[in-house]
Each structure stands twice: as C-alpha cells, then as structure tokens.
Symmetry: C2
Subunit: 376 residues, 2 copies
Amino acid sequence: MTSNQATPPARSEPPAGTTPHTAPARTPHREPPRTTAATRATSRDVARAAGVSQAAVSLVLGDKWRGRVSATKAEAVRAAARDLGYRPNLAARSLRMGHTRTALLVVPALTTEFFARVYTGAARLAADHGFGVVLYPSPEGIGPARDPFDSASATLDGVIASSMAADALSALRHAGLPLVMLDSDPDDDRAGATVNLDIADGVRQLTTHLLTLGHRRITHLTAGVDSWTFALRASTLAETLRQTPGTQLRHHPAALGVDAGLHAAHAALTGPGPRPTALLCDDDIIAAGACKAVRRLGLRVPEDVSVTGFDDLALAVAVEPELTTVRLPAEEFGEAGMRALMAVLDGGRPESPTLPVELVTRGSTAPPPADTAPAS
Amino acid sequence: MTSNQATPPARSEPPAGTTPHTAPARTPHREPPRTTAATRATSRDVARAAGVSQAAVSLVLGDKWRGRVSATKAEAVRAAARDLGYRPNLAARSLRMGHTRTALLVVPALTTEFFARVYTGAARLAADHGFGVVLYPSPEGIGPARDPFDSASATLDGVIASSMAADALSALRHAGLPLVMLDSDPDDDRAGATVNLDIADGVRQLTTHLLTLGHRRITHLTAGVDSWTFALRASTLAETLRQTPGTQLRHHPAALGVDAGLHAAHAALTGPGPRPTALLCDDDIIAAGACKAVRRLGLRVPEDVSVTGFDDLALAVAVEPELTTVRLPAEEFGEAGMRALMAVLDGGRPESPTLPVELVTRGSTAPPPADTAPAS
DNA sequence: CGCCGCAGGTTATACGTATCACGTCCGGGT
DNA sequence: ACCCGGACGTGATACGTATAACCTGCGGCG
C-alpha cells in the first residue's frame, strides 16, 4: 500500500436503523473507473516495482528461475507481485502458449442431477491440476443447435463428451480436438479414450436380485433416448433373462421425467396379458413416476409390484418407499473423464477404465405376490 | 497392448522419392506448418486465400466493412473463411479487446437442481448475445477454498454471484469486477445490480394458504444456511403470523437434504407442547424428508400434518403426496442476472428487478385434523 | 594467456487479432 | 485548375506473456 489514491474513507455507512427515508441515490452520471483496480497490474508493472526485467518476472513466477535469477531478486519479484495483486492475463498466456488448460464438457442437460455431479467431479480434479472446465449443455438444454465453440468463450484444449449428447458430436469431430467419450461404445474410434460405467454389471445385479426374489414377469421402462448406454441396458437385460427359463420380458418406451414414467407404467400395468410383477426403470425419475402409477391403480409398492431405478439420485431416498437402484459413481465418472483427457493432452497413453457400479437394495423391491401364477 | 510406437504408416513422406539426399531429415531450423489440420487457420491464412490483407479479413468478419471493403472482396473473404474452417482465436481477440465476453456464475453447489436451472437460464441468454458463462461452484462443491480466478481459465468480464456463496465474495470484491448479486439484500453496496425473487410474497402466499385452511400451529423447518434469502423467509413468516392472533410459530433448524429434513421434522413433531399441524420447509428436499418423518410416526400427510416446500423442483411432483410449494422461476432468475450484468458492462444503468413467484397448491396441504384443539 | 562454462541477467520476438493511421484513386463542387 | 471527401485498401502497431537468443563478468583450467 503506497499511494495510488488508496484508503477509501469509511464508505459513509449508515450504522443502523434510520433507513434514509428519501434515499435519493442520485449520481446517475457514470462512475469512471476511479476506484483502484481500474487496470490490472501486468508483469511489466511487477518488473518495474521489483527493479528487474519483465522476463525475470515471468521466469520467477513460472518457477523456472533455477540458475537464472538470484534468490534475492526472486523474492523481490514475488513480494512485488503480491503487493500489486498481480494476476497473469490468461488470454495473453493462452495466446503465447498455444493452449488454454480448459476442457469442454458436453452433456445432454444440466438439470439432471447426474450430469451436475459428473461436472462437479471433473471440475474438482481439473482444478487440482490447474485446469478449468466449461460446459456445453446440448441443444435441448440451451436452445437451438449452436456451435459449441461459440458457447465456450475460451478456446479449448480438449473435449469430454457424453454419448447422450450425440447431436453435438459432429461439430466436435470436425474441430479435431482431443476427445474423451463418456459411456460410449469402446469401439468408437472417434475418441482418444473412452470412460465407461459398468452398466452391464449393474443390470445383471439388478436382474439377479429380482430373479432371486422370485419375479418372472419383468417390464423394462426405457428412457426412449437413443444412446449407447441405454441400448446396453436393454440388451443386457434381455440376455440375462434369456438364461433363466420361464421369464417374460417386455419393453415399454417412456421418456425422461416423472410424468413419462407414470404414463408408461400405467400402460404397462393395464396392458393385455398377465400383469408384470416388476418394473425395471431406466432411471430413478422414471421409477418415481412408476411408483405413482402403481398406487393410482390401487396397488402397492413393493407388495404388489416391485420397482427399480437407476443412478441413485437424491430422489431415490426422497420417495417412499425408497428405491432399490443401481448407484452410478457420477463424480468419479467425471474425474475419470478429466484424468483421461489430461493423459491424452500430455501425450501419454490414456487409460480407458470401466468404473464399477453398485446395487443398492431398498424398499421398492420385494417378492412378488404369492397368488401370482408363474408365467407360462 | 504391445507397442504403442507402431502404426504410423506413411505418416507424411511424399513417396515421390528422389528427395535430394543432400537434405537429410535434419533441418532442425524451423518446422514449417506442414500438416494442415495440425494448426488451425488464422485470419492471415484467410487473407492469403482471399487475396486481401489480414486487416480486411478482420474488417469483413467483424462486420465493420461498411465503406472500407468492396462487396466483391467481402464475399471472397467470407468464402475463404468458410473453406478453411476459420475460427478466430478467442485468446488473441480477448487480449486485443481487453474483454472476454465471459461471465462467472458463483453458486453454492451445482448438484442442487435450482442452481443448475439458474445456470441454464443465464447461459441461454448469454449465448444469444455472444457471451459465455463459466461456473464457480463454491468450496463445498469443489474442494477447499480456491481462488475463483484460478478456477476460471478465461479471464472474466463480470461476475454473477448468489448470496448463498458468501464465502467466495471477499475474493470477488477484491478483484473489482462488475458484480451482480442474486437474491441479496438490496442495500448491499457491493453489487452493481441486484436481482431478487419475491421470496417475501411467496412466504405470504404460503402462510395465507395455511391460515385459510385453518392451521394455527406452524413450525418452520429452516435450511440452516446463513444467507439473506433464508433469513427473509423466517422474518416474513414471523411477521405475517404476528398479524393473525392465536397462532403459534416455531423454528426448527434443519439443513439441506432429505435426511436433515427427516430428523428435524421428527424432532418438531415429537417435541414438547402441542404438535404443529403444518410444517413449512425452506425447500422441497427438506419437505420430502419431513413427509417421511410424518409417516414414520404413524401420521398421514396431509390429513394429520400439512407439509409445504419451496422452489418447485422436479422432486415436488415425484413424491406422494405432491408438494404444495412456491414455484421459483429459476431459469428467469439466471436470465435476469445475466441481463443485468450485460447492462452494467454496456455502461448503462442496470435494472434490479424482483421476479414474481407463484404458489402451487398440491396434495400435501389440507385443513388440520378436526380434533385439534386451537392453540392457546 | 586464452577461453570455456556458468550464474545472472536483459533484449527481442512471436502468438493472432482489431484498429489506427496512412495511402491511392476518383468524381464533383467552386 | 484545385482541393475535398468518400470509397477501397494496406501496413504498422499493441495487447501481455513466455522463451529463445544474447550479453557480461568471473573463476578455473589447460
């Protein structure tokens, strides 16, 4: 603190009560950038203050001063930087370095808790390595199809994209940026790496759980989204049931959302043929809607109909009964994506892990009613 | 996985042979940009392709060529840019222009649906104006207290901050960036503008609804977060009830989350004195937990105890009974914040609107049980 | 003695863009 | 005839940073 017009005098704080009954608050002219901070300090300012050259500042602050700057001057530089509140201009640095240490995360929509958690995990790991993450919610969330690179005001070093945001992928591919796919076909050659959740294992665990309870008529309420991860749910379920004779599997298209789940479940329960005893839903939200449908038909969960979810969102324990579901490690998913991207950026060989999932057994599943005749 | 080194067949190598062997592969001088796709096209490349100067390209693409470039050449420039897939280097532009068209949105945590929707609204409006939005989830979401500007890899033009992220505000204030506060005390002089939701009106509507149904003993399950918006809920509730004689108001501290709501409601319902007939919760998630507590005590919602939420999240219609709640226009909230920030950035006088909220009456409220003795 | 190497610096430069200052060529007003 | 101003362009420059290239003593070693 030297000169620089400092010491803003006490701000004229009205101490308590006595609200200014008029409160004119005129002064509409224009507050010129009078208050300090008008222009940020540059490395040249720091150099001047420390009595060295701008290059020396860059060296010291970049921690590359081993045998180039004396310890005395290095400390002087650091002190000056601190005093001036110096922050490097990231735009200039990016221009010079040719990279931005920023990744783009492409997700279908952010209002889904799942992807919010994926982002959180990715951002946390990124921050630990000096990276930033910006979001590109795909068209359904943000408006008409828009170029991802117009959305990201920073230039990008790489992209992490959910397979559910397939509509944005063509633009991404064209840009030739390093790409990490989330939950995508491992054979997809667009990606430099692929991070997956072990969805198939989750479905198998869930199915085994229902089978063990005695269920034989299972209806799958699908998300109605054309993406690899949802296709995998359906195919794994079909394959698993095929190994147990006497089972019956149906698929009912729903959509994402409570209402969609409700309507699909209603249709599934009132349709022709024997009523299913278990509803396997593509996510927890659909499952919540399905539970509502069951009760509106005068039936109970789980005594009459078992319902299962997927994801283990906060919602899963907010409804009653609490949902039996498959817990997806969302934060770790985002972390793994970011880690893979950083590996690609470092030129190393990226890992393409498959993250384990976990069956969480709660109150929405039970043995089917005793009076139910076994299928066929 | 054997040799990573393999498979660069015919990488470059113009196979035309007869390369002058006097020019061995050495040439360490300077790598000319040989491999097209490796480096992005610059405005200079476009200029060369269109047969004009780089300045002309900038003029045309910046739509500032009124009387400076002929229509013919302008079209040629646009064609060349299209052919080359030219994208301006945003880092260079930011450096030159001194701004980034990027705003930072500071929220307490993203995993809450509410702020995810706020972000979506802000980002949508921003995109329409060529702005981007990056997020700074506050420490609780992202890790230990970290400088917002390390998190944002782009430099920033301004900040939109929720009052719930108060812990990050000191760093923000120090930076002297244009600041728009979300849901904050209008007298707060830190902000260039303040956008509010009409929380007080929502509380009054909710309270009137309960009073009209006949409730006299109301317990407020608070979020336990020290922020202006939650304080306003409590004070407005108290003030409203004070105007109706014979009412009894208690406050029970909860926290954000289903479990917290459950425990707080349990305590509220089993505590000393006559049982409250209505539980007014600071948000829908707490309310969902409260409903669970009611049922675990062998009581029914809403016949024995009415429960109300706040926010109108997706959760509100996922639980049964569906929650009576106050709908907060989250997307519009984010939009209004972004609009105010852009107004500040344009040097204009920003509006500081208060957005209306709406009472949504659903199944979780009903008249109190008839056998309930009036309070006092 | 000559000269190398190294610590401790500085100067110059390039990244890609937007814009200012400067040219040139005209047609038209005085 | 002269100058003015507008249309049409181009060259130069600066934004702030990181780093390559260069410079200067100085102790040591053949």
